[in-house]
Every structure is written in C-alpha cells, then in structure tokens.
Point group: C2
Chain length 536, copies 2
C-alpha cells in the first residue's frame, strides 16, 4: 500500500473554495431558520419560506455541480488510498459521500418532497390539534403521509441501498449503518429493557415529585439554566440562549453556536434542556478551527451528536454528584418549594420513571422503547410491509406491547411527532444510539478520570462543579475529530469496540435498582457485541 | 405612440423568477446583517463576514447574468414605450437601470472595493478612537481613504456619468439626480439657513433642557417608544423593535419589517428614534403585496425613504399637538423629573437649537448644514479638486463657515461618520432631500387633512393621537407606488412640482421665530424652484 501523499494544491484549493461556499449558504440558511424560531414576527413566515427555498435550491445546485465531481475524482485518483485521518483526505472522502448522495436525487423529486412535506406538515398540525379521545383526524393526515412515504420510497430507489429501502435514509443520519444492524441492536435493547421496566412498574416505591410541578417563576429557572451552561463551559462569547417553542442547537460557525430553551411548569426541565443543548453546543465548539468552512466542520453523525447531549443531560445531570453541587443553589432560589425537600428526595424526583405515551416527556429508562416502536414502524412503512391506514392500530398495539400504556388519543399517539410529516424517516434511531453511546463514552471517561463522579465525603469533579476535565476529555477524544471519521470508526477509536446496548442496560440497573428497591435478575448479561456501524 | 401592451408571458415570468431569486438572496443577507447588529455573539463576526461575502458574490453573479440582459432587452422591445405606471413595465424599466449599473462594474473592482473599504473601516475605527484634542490619527486613516477615493473614481469611470464623477454615485442613492442639481439646491438651502441660525444663536432666549438629561431608567423609555410605535400604526405582527448600537430599519419582506433603537441618557431620544425608524417601517409596510419579491418592493430612493422617517420624527414628533397628547403620559412615567415641567417647556426643550460639531446629534435647523459640508467635500474629493490630506483643514474651515463651531478634535470632526471609510460616497444628500421633502409632503397632507395638526381647544388629529388618516394619506400618495417611479416622478405626482428648499425654510421660520423671539427678515422668499430630480 503506497503511503498517502498531500493532495495536489490547485484541485484541493478549488474544492475548498466550493465547499466553503456551500457551507456559507447552509449556515446562512441556518441563521434564517434560527430567526424564524426565535424572533421572527408572524407576518414573516411566507417570505421566509421563499428565502429558504431559494437558498436550498442554490445549495443543491452547488452540491451537484459536475465540476465538484471532477475535482473529487481527480483528488481521489491522485491520493489513493485516502487516509481519513489526514484532513485533506477526509475532506475528499466525505465530499464523495455527499456528492454521490446529492447527485442521485433528481431535482424534480426534491421539488416534490419539499412541496408534499410542506402540505403534509400542515395537515399533521391540523390533525393533531383536532384529535381528542374518541375522535381522530388521522384520516385527514393519512393521504398526505401516504404521498410522503411514496416519495421516500422513490428516493430510496434513486439513492440505492444494500438491503432495505430504509438503509438509504438511515445512511443520511448514521453513515454506514444498515437497517438490519439497527434492528438487531434495538431488538436486543428492547428485550433488555423489558424486565427493568416491569420491575419498576411493579415496585411498591412511589417517588414523590409534586414539589417539581406547577412552577410559575420562569425567570429564576432561566437564570439557573444560564448558570449551569456557564459552569459546563458553554462560551457566551461564542453563543447565546434564546427562547423557542422547541429547544434546539444550531451552529453558524465555531464562533457562534446558539442554543434555545423554553420555560416549563416542571422545575427541572429547562435545566436538563440546558445540559442537553449545551452538550450539543460543546461538540460544535470543539471542532478545530482548521476545519471551519469545510464539509468536516460538523459532528460525525446525528447519533454521535446525541451522545454528547445525552451524556451531559443524563449521565452528568441525572447523577447524585451533580445535584450535590446544584441542589443547594436551587433550594436557595426556590425556598418556598424546596426548603423541606432533601437533596436525596430531589435526586429521586428528577429520576422518577413512569411509562407514558409521549416520547419527549419520557424518562431515560423508557425513552428508547419509544424509539424502538418508531423504528419498527417506519422501517415497515418504507419496506412496504405496513400501509399508512394501518399505522394508528400498529402504533397503539406497539405502545401496549413495549411500554404497557395506551394513548388516550392519536394526538398523544401516532400524531405526536413531526418527523414523518417532514419526511425525516431514518432519524429516530440516532436518538437511541446517542443514549447507548453516552454511557459507553462516560464509562471510558470514568476510567480516565477516576474521581469524576464519586460522591464521597470530599466529592469528585462533578460533585465539586468542575466540568473542565470531562469537557477536555470529550474534546480530545471526540470533538476534535470533527466530521473526519464515520461514526463506527470514531466509536472504535474512543472505546476500542463497537456500539453496544449492554453498558447502557448495566448503567440503568445500577442506577435504578437502589432507587426502586429492585433485585436484578441473574444471567442475561449476554455481553454479545454487534459490530454494525461499519457497514460501508 | 403605440399604446402599451401587456408584456409577453414567458419572458416576463422568467424575469420575475430571476428577480425573485435576487430579492431572496438580498433579504437573506439582510437577516444576517440584522442578526449581526442585534444578537450575534462576538465570536460570530469572522464567519458572518464570509457568509455575507458569499451571498454578495451570488447576488452580483445573478444580477449580471447575460440571460437577465437578454430578457430585459426582449421585454423592452416587445413593450416599447414602457409605461412606468404599469407594474410589469416599471419592473422592466428598473431592471434595466440596475442591470446596466451592475454589469458596468468589473468583478475585480468590486473585490478591491470590498477589500479596501474593509481595511479603511478598521483604520477609521482605530483613528477615531485614538483622536483626542491636540492629537489626530487622521494621518493613519488617510492612506486607506485615499485608496478608497481612488477606487470610487475608478468606479465612476466604469459606470459613466453625464457631468461629474460624483453623478455616478449620487445616481445610486437618488436615481436621476445630478451633482450640479444637488449643488444648486443645497447651496440655496445653506444660504437660506444662515440668517435663521445667526438669529437663533444671537437670541437672548435660552431654552432649559436639563430635565431631559441623565436618564437612567431605560426600561421606561423603551416601553414608551413601543407605545408610540403602536400608536402611529407600526404593526407588531409584522415587525419588532430590538436594540442595536446604531438604530436602523430593515425589511425582510412586507410581512417582516424590523426596527432597532437604543437607550439614551436623553429622555426623548429613543422616542424620536422610534418615530424615525417607524416612519421608514411604514413605508416598507405600505408597499403593495403584488410587488413582493420583485425589484419594485422598495421605496423610490434613499431621499424618499428619509422623507418618511423625518416626517414622523420632525413634523409629527417635533410638533406641539404631538406632545399635547404624549407629554401627560410621559410625565406620568417620569414624575420625578417632569412633575414640575409644563407641556410648553417640554415642547421647547425637545426643539432647542444649538449648533454642534456632531451631525447625528444635530437639531432640525442645523442638521442640513452638516450635510452641505459633507456634500461639498465628497464632491471635491471625487472630482479631484481636494486631496485627502487636506480634508481635515477643509472640514474645520467648513464647520466654522457653515455652523460657526470648531470641532475639538478629529473624532468629533472629519472622523465622525462611517460613510466614507465604507465607500458610501453620494449618500449624504439623501438626508437633506428627505428633510426638504418631509415638509413638502406634510404641507400637502395638511391641505388634504385640514384638522391634522391644529392644537386648539378640541385639537386636531395629531393632538388626539389619531395617526391613521396621515398614515393612509402617505400610503395612498407615496408608499403604494413602491419602487415603480423615479424620485422626481413620484415627487411631482404627490406635490405637483419638484423638490424645493423654500417650504422647508418657511416651516423653520414659522416654528422657530416664536420659540426664539425672532423677526424674520423680509424679502429672500425667492420661491425659485429648481427641477432637478428628473435628470434621466
């Protein structure tokens, strides 16, 4: 094998200029989207849609320009084999992936998808708003969703796939992952979660949470969310927190990474949201300057991104040492509700588990079961094994089977998520992968930073409110790679093996057994690891 | 002359699509600029510059696309002569103007201008910050400005001009106006202002203003500025007021017109700013929907735009009836400083005249003299009659000659404005034209709405806080034309004649003679009107 050489300058420079232009247009579009969700007055919506459509059109044009294909081909030829650890080589490798993907989708299909998902989203909003117990407007939404599914299947054919039409979409969110691999992982995860959820549901321990409810003093919540962000290392010189209906993180550059949050009647919600979005933001902040304006100025996959947000939200924020530091501060800010609450009661309350029909309100134990259901259904839809008209009953059956709850109506059932109406098939698994990876990464960090989460008399780093070593660890091991590696490559570099559901299950049992007075059943620690992110 | 016919459909449709795309990119860039001046964290600046440069490059490419030229030529041929009162014809006429202008500027010159003005602006910031009495850093800025002037002269040659290199730049801000016409108008204005300023300066009446100063309670100012905006008809469903270092108005569409404001230690400043920016905003709001996303979705010129902001700021906001309505409200909000102040004293205080070296702090009497000086100097620079090195002494000499004041240092002298460092030569006259037109339009509105500004016992519309009839009048006569007409065409439609300085001078004498106990000298009401906006 010949050793890699530096890429030839003129072609590489031209590639960088072209990728930089695409990057600028994407980030400009992101600014328009951020503004739309934070400050834009109502009257701006129609024109904003046109503006974003024009930018999308230009991005697609530039991303499929045959000249881009020529440059990539020349650079591949001159630099074979590509070494993904070198910036320039990684840039060429990832440019090839994106170029192939983009040029395979006919313009007309994109136009149709834009049009039909926009109609479907409207129909979904109407159907969800009007669905109440005993009355569903799923029938109103169904023809639109059918059309979207038809187009997504058409898109699968255009893109090509190794085994399942679902692969073509999953690959967008988790490059290299196949549906069959995701299925094995998620099935095993569901199987492992079942006894834990059953045990918790059967437990006689009821965790008191009323002191978290009916908060009206949003400004205090907001102030503490800012303090937490500051503490974990979110840089307000390079970002800000604004309000939006649905929290999100968006990066306009490494120097401008913004998060949004919302007030809630639950005391802890905006604090956990700050940790979640802050986790995403730290990933963006940590991408090296030298990758700025390139196709590598991003994370490795949606799942990798979610691993960072979940690590801060659940592994840090859901831990005893975290609240050893923050509970006294919170109790001071909310004396009227927390003066008589102990730190232990508070810790228990924010970790209470209760199977519920709504994904975004789910605790960390039941959350992944929501994902398993969506994955199974969307895979079946794309593979033609399930018709849209049968979706509500399949949904309800799955909720009972996996979570033991029945939605009161379709608004809190099959109509609860925006994803399908927007054509985002293949997105859901990333949430679950993020949850699993968060634990695997955190275990690794615990090994490297022994005092990290001890809660003894002196306390570890987290108990002392010192997050810099963990942040640095995540930066060095994960963030600093930017988008150079495929997710499976990066995961193996960090933890020395593939993604796996067992550490996550072990973490849950270790954490929740004492909370709910459970005995973990023996055996079942199969330890079988499935390599499934390296499907290239 | 054959009567105008509807434009041929396919060419017109393609023209509209192309203009719509350019419009979208321009408005996207405006969103990025608004964000930069309101919410962007410090760290976002560098990347934002790249993003805006990429958008500018695309806008220039699209605006000079030969296909656009072909379409315009075909539509001109098919629809000769163009009737500017028809939307489609006006679109073609204005597209021709812009296309000619854009395609005459070589790409390399644009690149050089972008680069050199960016350096010059930096040098200007440094020079201004470091200039103190007895020490000027103009010498640091001079080489950069010299380079900008050289490029602007080069741009004049590229664009072509009827008489003066200055014409080429003036035409961008005031289509059709020649430097020689602006010179006659502004000379006459300066001449007419001289006896008034001298009389005010010599007056023994000193207007008390201390109760307006040292305000610390910015939130109250802000709240009242919002109330005023609401009252004049600013639509918060289609806009918002945010903070920025320098107030401005920006339209992302007819449904999203935003203004910015800033707090001030002067009580009335944010209120007048709200009226000023609100005036600009009402112009944007008033442009008909059917012109949206076209090259006509704008005002007629910078001067026309400024006439709207100045009309609300000075003719409405600076009037007795306005404060008859608002002073009691203000006195209630600021009892500690206004309880012992009469409405009359307040009216006098907000209209106090004092020649000062700073343009943006100038009252409405002396403001235009600042413009006259800048116009004379920038015209001389572009015509090669003045060297940059001689600019500070020419500035100081002009300040003494026109305003009778001498700047303490170059920071409050020749270095006070950003315009020249940014290459914005030809912009200043628009401010003066706006001031003159505001009075001419308001006089016309007074004729059509007789009770508008009476302040008798019952009070007129303004005294009752009823602004809808004035707003409607401005809409029907001015805003509803959008960018269809050249400024001189529009002015003649509204007032039946050309722009003129005499009504402005009459208005000032009528208002300030009683305030300062002046006798107006006889004669001098020359009444000579100069047609100078119709230079096409």
């Amino acid at each position: 094998m010949s050793s890699p050489q530096p890429c030839s300058r003129p072609s590489l420079e031209e590639l960088k200029i072209r990728l930089g232009e695409i990057y600028d247009l994407q980030r400009a579009s992101a600014v328009l989207s951020w503004d739309q969700q934070t400050y834009m007055p109502k009257g701006g919506a129609a024109a904003r849609g046109e503006q974003r459509a024009t930018l999308s059109g230009l991005i697609h044009q530039r991303s499929t320009d045959p000249r881009l294909g020529e440059l990539i081909a020349r650079l591949e030829e001159e630099n074979s084999p590509l070494d993904p650890e070198q910036d320039d080589h990684a840039m060429v490798r990832m440019a090839r992936r994106t170029y192939e993907r983009n040029r395979r989708i006919p313009e007309e299909l994109i136009r149709q998808l834009t049009l039909k998902t926009s109609l479907a989203r409207e129909a979904w909003v109407e159907a969800r708003a009007a669905s109440v117990p005993g009355r569903s407007l799923f029938g109103h939404f169904a023809p639109y969703l059918t059309e979207v599914v038809r187009l997504k299947r058409e898109q699968s054919e255009a893109l090509g796939y190794p085994e399942s039409p679902y692969d073509a979409h999953l690959d967008y969110f988790e490059p290299g992952l196949l549906a069959s691999q995701a299925a094995i992982l998620l099935d095993r995860l569901a199987e492992g979660l079942r006894p834990l959820v059953e045990a918790i549901t059967a437990s006689s321990i009821q965790i008191e949470t009323t002191f978290l409810e009916d908060v009206r003093d949003g400004e205090k919540q907001w102030a503490i969310s800012l303090e937490i962000l500051q503490a974990i290392g979110y840089d307000f010189q390079r970002g800000r927190q604004d309000r939006s209906a649905h929290p999100f993180t968006t990066a306009f550059s490494g120097g401008d990474v913004r998060i949004t949050n919302r007030l809630s009647s639950r005391l802890e919600t905006p604090l956990f949201t700050a940790l979640h979005e802050g986790g995403h933001a730290l990933y963006h902040f940590g991408i090296p300057c030298r990758l700025e304006r390139s196709n590598l100025a991003s994370g490795s996959s949606y799942g990798l991104h979610e691993s960072q947000s979940r690590l801060w939200e659940n592994l840090v924020g859901g831990s005893r040492p975290f609240w050893a530091f923050w509970f006294p501060r919170l109790a001071k800010a909310f004396p009227e509700r927390l003066a008589t609450v102990s730190e232990d009661s508070f810790y228990r309350a924010v970790n209470a588990v209760r199977p519920s029909p709504i994904r975004v309100e789910a605790d960390e134990v039941t959350y992944n079961l929501h994902i398993v259901l969506r994955f199974q259904l969307e895979q079946a839809l794309l593979e033609g094994r399930l018709a849209v008209k049968d979706l509500p009953s399949a949904w309800n059956e799955g909720m009972v089977r996996l979570l033991g709850v029945m939605p009161r109506d379709d608004a809190e059932g099959v109509l609860q998520d925006v994803h399908w109406s927007s054509g985002q098939f293949g997105y859901f698994p990333s949430y679950a992968l993020g949850n699993l990876l968060a634990v695997q990464f955190f275990n690794c960090a615990l090994h490297d930073l022994p005092g990290l989460n001890s809660s003894g008399s002196t306390g570890g780093l987290i108990a002392r409110g010192e997050y810099a070593p963990l942040r640095q660890w995540l930066h060095d091991r994960i963030h600093s790679w930017g988008g150079k590696l495929l997710p499976d490559e990066l995961v193996r570099k960090v933890i020395g093996g593939p993604i796996d559901s067992q550490p996550f299950l072990d973490y849950l049992w270790d954490k929740y057994a004492p909370l709910y007075g459970l005995q973990r059943p023996p055996a079942k620690r199969s330890g079988l690891k499935i390599s499934h992110l390296g499907g290239e």
